[in-house]
């Protein structure tokens, strides 16, 4: 769906994006994470044709995005929502969507139907005649999203779309993005709120200092991290006795009693199958296990670990 080779952007002496090779398959939600100044926004702007690359190539649906030339065919397929989502305060909601629909060659009666659909998608049906200047920040953000999808793009580029939203608005926004995925839209989204990305992303890319230091399926990332997973175990009886037994088990690298006093936390270097074998061995060894909980590292923890490792 989207691929780049050696994509680079240099501003004066600063290399903002450095030799990025990105591959996103159709229908994916690709989360782009990284610290401020990592080059996420510049990368997204180049993919949206809002910024010209210094070097490298961009392919969208197999077509090359040619720099220095109009690309009307590709531009119809892409949609871009920047982090500041500028709007026209002098228009009402329906006229705003009508304007962008027409810019993308939508005509009546399809245009009116599509406006209704996207307003329903972002739950702004009751605000259709409202002046944009009167909308709340969350509504404006949702209206911007409606604008980006009005022409049914196949690739949606969202730069920090949930920044500044309250928790309820973020949940609504997440649900909207999931709905868009079910419609077959490929989405590239950058965000600092990693728990949100964890909820709906299928793949993750980590950027550091302009480089894409990690790019893989989210499940593969978890799987890789699971090789050093933590497991919390509790059993009837003395926790200290359980700790002694666990310390003798293979693949258990660290074992300590948690402050609660009846739980033991182990660092386990095995796979899921080997963790299941450990549980079976404990039960057959006569332990009455009341808790056996593998602790899944959050995306935030993985990001901190991977980002730091790769850069260093």
């Amino acid at each position: 769906m989207l691929s780049t080779t050696g994509l680079t952007k240099q501003f004066d002496q600063t290399i903002s994006v450095n030799q990025v090779n990105l591959q996103i398959n159709a229908g994916e939600i690709y989360g782009l994470i990284g610290p401020n100044g990592a080059g996420k926004t510049t990368l997204i702007r180049m993919l949206a044709a809002a910024e010209e690359p210094t070097a490298g190539e961009i392919y969208i649906s197999g077509q090359r995005l040619l720099p220095d030339q109009p690309n009307p065919g590709i531009q119809r397929q892409i949609s871009f929502l920047p982090d500041d989502f500028p709007l026209y305060d002098d228009l009402n909601v329906v006229d705003y969507l009508d304007y962008f629909g027409r810019l993308y060659y939508l005509r009546q009666p399809e245009l009116a139907q599509r406006i209704n659909q996207v307003l329903e998608l972002v739950s702004l049906e009751n605000k259709r005649q409202s002046q944009i200047s009167t909308l709340s920040r969350g509504m404006k953000q949702r209206l911007s999203l409606a604008r980006t999808v009005i022409h049914r793009p196949v690739l949606l580029l969202l730069d920090e779309p949930v920044s500044g939203l309250d928790p309820i608005a973020r949940v609504q926004y997440r649900e909207t993005i999931k709905t868009l995925q079910t419609e077959g839209i490929t989405i590239l989204i950058s965000s600092h709120i990693l728990s949100d990305l964890e909820d709906f992303c299928t793949s993750i890319g980590i950027m550091e200092l302009g480089r894409l230091v990690e790019s893989s399926q989210l499940q593969a990332l978890y799987q890789r991290d699971r090789r050093g997973q933590q497991i919390i175990i509790a059993a009837l009886g003395e926790a200290a006795a359980l700790q002694q037994v666990l310390q003798t088990m293979p693949l258990v690298t660290v074992c300590e009693i948690l402050p609660s006093g009846n739980q033991v936390c182990i660092q386990f270097a095995g796979t899921n199958l080997e963790a299941a074998n450990l549980l079976r061995d404990l039960i057959t060894g006569g332990w009455q296990i009341t808790e056996f909980s593998p602790v899944q590292a959050s995306l935030e923890e993985i990001f901190l670990k991977l980002g730091y490792q790769q850069t260093s």
Binding site: A48, A49, A50, E51, E52, D68, P70, P72, G73, Q75, R76, I78, F80, P82, D84, P86, L87, Y88, D90, L91, V94, D95, D98, Y99, F100, R102, L103, Y104, Y105, R107, Q108, A112, I115, N116, E125, R128, R147
Partner: protein
């Protein structure tokens, strides 16, 4: 909920040029329209009352003169200011980027801006045109003079507004970078530029376009002794030749601006001229005819061949 039905012509207009429809929708609010109509009507009424009280004057001729002197000022200066202000605002806010990324050709967007941004100004001017025409007929002025005035004004507006658009795109460095002082500075330069253009419009109209009219001294209250030559051709001697020359030059100027404008609108971070355009500029016969013509005029303007 169903969208209220809108007139078919609105749909057709929007399909042809969404930018124009967007500008009209943003500007033609009832309050603004009423204000434009009221200002135009009050201005005309005041002008009529003032001239009516002047002694020993040809009332209708003076009304015609007032409009002829005033309309270019209003249209060229205020129109250019509105366009520069609008584009600067859009570029600053970042909304112009969305339009750039749309698959619509740049000419449609820019034409929509020229036609749509000064809508209220156009409305006020259009409402004043009947009185201007009535005054021309009542004063017994030749119809070709009135036709010439509007033709030259239209061509000048297209050139001036195109230049204003190009200027505002070049002047604003990037979204969010400009302060209000910067925007005010840009607008001030635009007003100064268009004021110069208005003066050039009058100078050219009087000394070249209208000079050959038989009753020029009676119409304008003074006479011109000088002739205007271009490559030893007395262009001010023939009314139609003067107009053909003027309109061709305005068209060439507009075409050159649009060539740069169409490219620069799409790539605002590139150089103003492409390498190809820069290399063509001093060489092409089109620009040679313009620049040689302009250079030749002052040189031979005040002497006989």
């Amino acid at each position: 909920m169903q969208q209220p039905q809108q007139a078919p012509w609105i749909d057709q207009l929007g399909d042809w040029n969404p930018q124009l429809l967007r500008e009209l929708r943003g500007r033609l609010k009832p309050r603004s329209v009423i204000a434009a109509i009221a200002l135009s009507a009050i201005g005309q009424l005041l002008l009529f009352l003032i001239i009516d009280k002047l002694p020993n004057q040809s009332k209708w001729l003076n009304i015609w003169r007032s409009f002829t002197y005033g309309l270019p000022f209003l249209l060229l200066i205020l129109g250019s200011y509105l366009i520069v202000s609008d584009l600067t605002h859009e570029e600053n806010r970042g909304t112009l980027n969305f339009i750039r990324l749309s698959p619509r050709p740049a000419w449609q967007i820019l034409l929509g801006k020229i036609l749509g941004v000064p809508t209220l100004l156009y409305l006020a001017i259009v409402l004043a045109i009947p009185l201007h025409l009535i005054a021309a007929v009542a004063a017994g002025l030749p119809s070709e003079l009135t036709l010439s005035f509007y033709l030259l004004l239209l061509a000048s507006c297209i050139l001036c507004y195109s230049a204003a658009m190009l200027y505002s795109l070049i002047a604003v460095p990037k979204p969010g970078a400009a302060s209000w002082q910067f925007t005010a500075g840009i607008s001030f330069v635009a007003i100064a530029f268009s004021l110069g253009f208005v003066i050039a419009f009058y100078f050219w109209s009087f000394t070249v376009a209208w000079r050959s009219l038989d009753n020029f001294p009676e119409i304008f209250g003074y006479s011109l002794a000088d002739q205007r030559f271009w490559f030893y051709l007395d262009i001010s001697q023939n009314f139609w030749l003067a107009h053909a020359f003027t309109l061709i030059n305005l068209a060439i100027g507009t075409a050159l601006i649009w060539r740069v404008l169409l490219r620069y609108f799409r790539q605002p971070r590139s150089s103003v001229l492409s390498k190809k355009q820069a290399s063509e500029l001093p060489d092409c016969s089109l620009s040679r005819s313009v620049f040689l013509g302009l250079l030749a005029l002052p040189r031979f303007g005040r002497e006989s061949p």
